[in-house]
């Protein structure tokens, strides 16, 4: 049912079409059937206990939430199990605190001092700060995946992530710079390098996952979207330079805006929003095709994969989420002026309550209407040739991280 419609039109001529090795990946592989009510209940509980314990409950709260989500994921007919504990996350955080806080602290102080000494150095200071945080984040992200995989089991056998966080950080930094300097043209190569390192280091039991996708293949996957984006942006720039009655200089200091100018500014922001929206859509399409490319070039033992993730359904999820967000914030800003009229003390109380509700609500909305539907969609549209490669795997002997995510937590990487 869900494998239909989309594959006919848009997949034509793209690199994963020529499926090799004779066998087609047609059997269902993953199923996400996590129930919503326990997840919502858990998010509320986590938030409230988080406030009461000054945020320290988060380690245990995250663990409970993950147990629910993992349990809601079926691989073949058996569910995944999450083995992590709040204690591991908490101690991982303390370790990060002992070892890394002084380091980050010195960087933080040095960069704010740079910013204070001379405004000209401020940009360098914040760039430095950003670069250090970005590098740490890449490193932490890898360690976090390792922790999560090492705490995930299926049929009593654990997953694991080999490789080195520092190496991953290096690859990521190098190719992020390259893609920045090439104005995004080398972005597909960055994605390919990261997938390559990550997937080839992913292990279930004693067996490695393999990724054979090339930078060229990834480039072809992304090219239509990069070109569309480039086309879109240059079109927009050309429009504003040659046709628009409003030039950029006018927009700055319009102390006596005439009617036409106001109209033109409205048109300008409308077009700008349109361009941003289209560009975002292209980005989502690129990501969806990346996932399909990834699946088509991934193998585990004899097993090969295929993803039919439909662009239209993914976009629909984002649109629903976007509308809900606008409605939620719209309600907030409609109600605020009403609250202002009420007497001052009541107003403060009401506004506070209101913000807490919105703050709690938004995470629930995000989980229920964005994360879970996307997860469901991804799982349902992933196919495998034959699951038996997973069933014959033996347990891996080797170390696994003793404590949790540490620094990643301090930087608040990943919601779950």
């Amino acid at each position: 049912m869900y494998q239909g419609q989309d594959q006919s039109g848009e997949a034509g001529g793209l690199p994963w079409q020529n499926t090799s090795r004779g066998q087609e990946a047609n059997s269902p592989f993953l199923e996400f059937d996590c129930r919503i009510a326990p997840v919502v209940g858990r998010i509320y509980k986590n938030k409230l206990l988080g406030i009461v314990t000054l945020g320290f409950y988060r380690f245990w709260g995250k663990t409970h939430l993950r147990r629910l989500l993992w349990n809601g994921t079926r691989l073949g007919e058996d569910r995944l199990e999450y083995h992590g504990t709040g204690k591991e996350l908490f101690i991982g955080f303390l370790i990060a605190l002992v070892i890394l806080t002084p380091l980050l602290f010195v960087v933080g102080v040095v960069s704010s001092v740079l910013a204070l000494t001379a405004p000209a150095l401020e940009i360098i200071g914040s760039l430095l700060n950003f670069a250090v945080l970005f590098a740490f984040w890449q490193f932490a992200r890898y360690r976090l995946w390792r922790y999560r995989l090492s705490r995930t089991s299926w049929r009593s056998i654990r997953f694991y992530l080999e490789g080195k966080g520092l190496r991953f950080m290096g690859i990521s930094l190098l190719w992020t710079l390259a893609s920045l300097f090439s104005l995004g043209l080398l972005y597909p190569v960055l994605r390919q390098k990261l997938l390559d390192y990550q997937i080839n280091n992913t292990v279930f039991g004693d067996q490695n996952f393999r990724f054979t996708g090339t930078a060229g293949g990834m480039f072809k996957t992304y090219l239509p979207f990069i070109l569309s984006n480039a086309f879109l942006l240059s079109g927009a720039i050309l429009y504003f330079v040659f046709y628009s009655p409003v030039t950029f200089s006018d927009l700055g200091g319009g102390e006596m805006a005439s009617y036409e100018q106001t109209a033109a500014t409205g048109e300008f922001s409308l077009i700008l929003m349109g361009v941003a929206l289209l560009s975002m859509i292209f980005m989502v399409m690129g990501r969806v095709h990346e996932i399909r490319f990834m699946a088509a070039n991934m193998s585990f033992g004899e097993a090969r994969f295929r993803s039919e993730l439909p662009v239209s359904r993914v976009l629909l999820v984002f649109i629903i989420m976007g509308v809900l967000t606008i409605v939620a914030y719209g309600a907030l800003f409609m109600l605020l002026p009403q609250l202002m009229i009420a007497d001052p003390i009541m107003m403060i109380v009401l506004v506070l309550v209101f913000f807490v509700v919105i703050y709690l609500l938004f995470d629930v909305l995000k989980t229920v209407f964005l994360v879970m539907p996307l997860m469901r969609l991804f799982c349902r549209t992933l196919y495998i040739t034959d699951i038996s490669s997973f069933e014959t795997v033996a347990a891996r002997s080797g170390e696994s991280p003793r404590y949790g995510e540490g620094l990643a937590d301090a930087l608040d990487v990943g919601a779950f």
């Binding site: 129930r35 326990p38 986590n46 938030k47 988080g50 406030i51 009461v52 314990t53 000054l54 945020g55 988060r58 409970h64 147990r67 629910l68 349990n71 058996d78 569910r79 199990e81 204690k87 908490f90 101690i91 955080f93 303390l94 370790i95 605190l97 002992v98 806080t101 002084p102 980050l104 602290f105 010195v106 933080g108 102080v109 704010s112 001092v113 204070l116 000494t117 001379a118 089991s153 299926w154 049929r155 009593s156 056998i157 654990r158 279930f204 039991g205 997973f390 069933e391 014959t392 795997v393 033996a394 347990a395 937590d409 301090a410 608040d412």
Partner: protein, 365 residues
Amino acid sequence: MGLATGRLFDGRSAGAVSVSVYIRANELVIEDEAGTPVGVWSLDELRDVSPVPSKIEISLSFGEEDPARLTIGDAGFIADIRRQCQTLNKRRPLQAGWWKPYAIWIGGGAASVAVLFVFVLPFLATVVANMLSDDTRDRIGRETKDYIIKTFARDKSPDKAICEGTAGQAALEGLVARLASAEAGTSTPITLTVVKSKVPNALALPGGHMVIFSEMIDHADRPDALAGVLAHEIAHIREKHPINLFVTNVGIATVFSLVLGDISGGTIIAGVGQMAVGAAYTRDFEREADSLATRIMTEWQYDMSAMIPLLRSLEPKARFMHVPIFATHPGMEERIEKIEAAGNTGAGPALGADEWAAVKAMCGA
């Protein structure tokens, strides 16, 4: 008791072993297809591993460290086992010594944060305070002062929060200039602003900016009492304490945001914690400021002991209100003793009768 079929995963491979299971006395007996027992699990040790108990499928574990899992999809049997095994969804008892890693790392974390606060932060703050250019200090001071004035102005315009009184302002500026020119004073040019406020306070800000709240002037019964306060603030400025405090606050904010992590309940507390921790000068800074102030007052032959009634009148308020400077000035009694011990520093008065009247009239009260 009924017999059910299930699949056993032994933790050594992902292959399933088809088994039949039944409950005997207080045990779960697991047999393979040939009827050979492959395991006997005690019901007390048995746990349901799924976070939400289900009526139609169950995955069982036997022992904390045992990776083996038994999966059963027989609703009747699941109901049976739930009835007979009350501990199925309970936590396993904690192992002996479970608290040791907590103790070690909480201790380590606390020690690391303590080292940061006690050694690294003061050191960095001093280094940075001396590194910053006069312009930068001036900019920070001006921004802080604007912020304070805006806070006290509330719904009024900021100009209304500043006390005008030209004669009084001139008298105070003259007094500050005299005090600053003392040997224990400072060459940093000082800008003085008097702000209308019910909080009795005086602040020295980075870059030689000084703010006196009107309530402080109201509390002073003699010019020399006010001169003592001004001398104290001048001493802070001489020793670059305000910029030191500012850098310390930046550091504390960094530490708090790292420790408390994400926004879930943490950020608001971080703000409050930072205020509580960061608003105080250290005891050492205050002693230093007091002893320099005494030297300044002696040089001009003003009466430092006039400060004692002022300090005493501030004390009850300081105890109940959040008054950044005087509430956190440690050991009021100790300070008063020190001032008394300094003996007679002079007779004053620091301002003439006309000047003093002009100062008192500055804020219109």
